[in-house]
């Protein structure tokens, strides 16, 4: 006679809708989960709730107008999107930007990387019940957004770059403000690490959860911190032809080997420290110069003084802005991969020689990173879903475009 308790307890299969309005999805995405007890046996992600046709829209907007659309893709680090798109357009046209432009772009990209990672770690923590780390991260992110506001005029929809340079130069004494915030970031990161890294509950909730093997990471097209947490030594800033003068800076690439949620957290924390290093170097070595290419080339607007006070300035202004004029890029195509906080963010522009691109494709890192989710969650508990989702760092605006 076997006791009833030794018999496996069979339960009915339960289908659970996770989202589209679940708070831990951080955006509108829906996952249809099949549960047995509390174990997820199958998960089917449903995406497209935020599909806004950005790529179709890009065929109707000229090269500089589309920069405002790139803000709306990854709204946690819009400056990285701005820079990536500007780089692709410049490669297509064949424009060389000044070194000061490149350094300011590096500074802005790294500041957004810090803000993005702080937010991601904080969100992961709050989803797993650690409210304090979230508040520390959010406060620091707020300071970085203030820096963006000083430089670009807005906090979220920055639209800072232009094809061939930047919208405007950074203000005087900007470096002092940045260094003040960077010092706070270093302290804050220490505090978050003290709260989380050796915390028993944190380790229990994140270690061996959502493990991605090296082969899977390559097969599923995973890039960025997620790939590096699985032991793939690949950073576009270092391993490929460095874009935007990244070759001038001395920093390390954070790698972990286990590929679980905990390692992704560790990689992100280390990347914050490396980004702080890059920011300090960029401020130290900041060269002098213009931040936009010569308006005579026909790709940028001249300064407003010249427009009002000289006939050449006025002509250049109208040459760029009039509907039947504008840029004349060559017929061709360019794909530029950049290392965004989430992974490989690429812009692929096909031009037929008109002022609007023929096709603008975004290679969204969230989209590829999210495609492995259903494989990761299988066999895990339902309560691990927020941990895995948080460690993937899905930005719905970029996922659906």
């Amino acid at each position: 006679m076997t006791r009833a308790i030794e018999q496996p307890l069979e339960t009915d299969k339960l289908v659970l809708n996770f989202g589209p309005q679940h708070p831990s999805t951080h955006g509108t995405l829906r996952i249809i989960m099949e549960l047995e007890g509390e174990t997820v046996t199958k998960a089917t992600p449903e995406i497209g709730y935020l599909h806004s046709g950005f790529e179709k829209l890009g065929e109707d907007l000229d090269f500089n107008q589309y920069i405002t659309i790139t803000d709306r893709m990854n709204y946690l680090s819009p400056l990285c999107n701005n820079v990536a798109y500007a780089l692709a357009a410049e490669k297509l046209i064949g424009l060389e930007v000044s070194q000061r432009t490149e350094y300011i772009r590096v500074l802005m990209c790294e500041l957004s990387r810090i803000a993005d990672h702080l937010l991601n770690v904080g969100m992961l923590a709050v989803d797993l019940g650690a409210m304090t780390a979230f508040l520390y991260g959010f406060r620091l992110r707020e300071d970085i957004y203030d820096l963006f506001e000083i430089a670009t005029g807005t906090r979220l929809t920055t639209s800072y770059t232009l094809v061939g340079g930047l919208m405007r130069d950074i203000p005087e004494d900007y470096d002092k403000a940045v260094i003040k915030v960077l010092d706070e970031v270093v302290e804050g990161v220490d505090e978050i690490e003290t709260l989380l890294t050796k915390n028993r509950i944190w380790q229990d909730r994140t270690k061996n959860i959502g493990v991605i093997s090296k082969e899977d990471a390559i097969s599923y097209g995973i890039s960025g911190p997620m790939a590096r947490a699985s032991g793939i030594d690949w950073d576009i800033r270092v391993n490929e032809q460095p874009y935007s003068s990244y070759g001038d800076f001395d920093f390390d690439v954070a790698i972990a080997l286990n590929g679980d949620v905990f390692d992704r957290y560790l990689v992100r924390m280390e990347e914050i420290c490396q980004s702080v290093k890059i920011c300090r170097q960029a401020l130290e070595k900041m060269p002098e110069g213009d931040v936009i290419v010569d308006p005579g080339l026909g790709y940028s607007l001249p300064p407003k003084d010249e427009v009002y006070n000289s006939i050449e300035g006025l002509i250049y202004h109208f040459e760029v802005t009039m509907p039947n004029r504008g840029m004349t890029p060559p017929v061709g195509e360019a794909y530029v991969p950049t290392e965004s906080p989430n992974g490989e963010l690429g812009f692929y522009i096909v031009s037929d020689g008109n002022r609007t691109p023929y096709r603008v494709r975004t290679r969204p890192p969230s989209f590829m990173n999210y495609s492995i989710f259903s494989k990761l969650i299988e066999g895990h508990m339902l309560s691990d879903a927020p941990a895995i989702l948080g460690s993937i760092n899905i930005i719905a605006g970029e996922l659906d475009r």
């Binding site: 599909h51 390559i218 097969s219 097209g221 391993n239 794909y335």
Partner: protein, 171 residues
């Protein structure tokens, strides 16, 4: 191996498949026939291009090209840090080509996206359904002959009258 060498090697290996090999802005582009994409990519994967960075399509309606639709594969070799673009051309009458999901799992969602937005059918794909648009969506939005101003959708939108008959409505 540098991409230029790979290009000439692939051209020799598949003389009937490769349409052309071009270079623009420092990027190597290989133009092939869509029907043979699986063999070409299998060979390239064996040559070291182990990472499919991006998969997308272009509608050549007004741009011109070998055929109406192009599916672009952006490959990356982790070992030599080289990138290569493979463009597979497929005709308008029969927009279908083999799926590369068996080589890279990432092609699963990306091919679904291309199917959703361009209507290109990938043979051998395990789950070829729309991914961005709803399942009952009509048309392929990123095709060049799909209107940009939303006329198609807006005109067909069913009007909800919430039970009030038109004749009973206050004038």
């Amino acid at each position: 191996m540098p991409p230029a060498t790979i290009l000439s090697q692939v051209k020799e290996q598949f003389p009937e498949t490769v349409l052309a090999g071009t270079e623009f802005a420092g990027e190597q582009i290989l133009h092939v026939k869509g029907q043979h994409i699986l063999t070409v990519l299998t060979a390239l994967k064996a040559d070291g291009y182990n990472f499919l960075a991006d998969l997308t399509a272009i509608d050549n309606l007004t741009l011109g090209g070998f055929e109406r639709f192009v599916v672009s594969y952006h490959l990356l070799c982790h070992q030599s840090a080289e990138r290569l673009t493979v463009k597979a051309y497929i005709p308008e009458e029969n927009p279908s080509m083999p799926s590369v999901e068996s080589l890279w799992k990432t092609a699963d969602w990306q091919e679904r996206e291309v199917f959703d937005l361009y209507g290109i059918i990938f043979e051998g794909h395990p789950n070829l359904i729309r991914i961005m648009n709803p399942d009952d969506f009509d048309g392929y939005p990123l095709r060049k002959d799909y209107p940009r101003l939303g006329r198609k959708e807006r005109d067909d939108f069913p009007v909800v009258d919430r039970g009030i008959q038109k004749k009973n409505r206050p004038q």
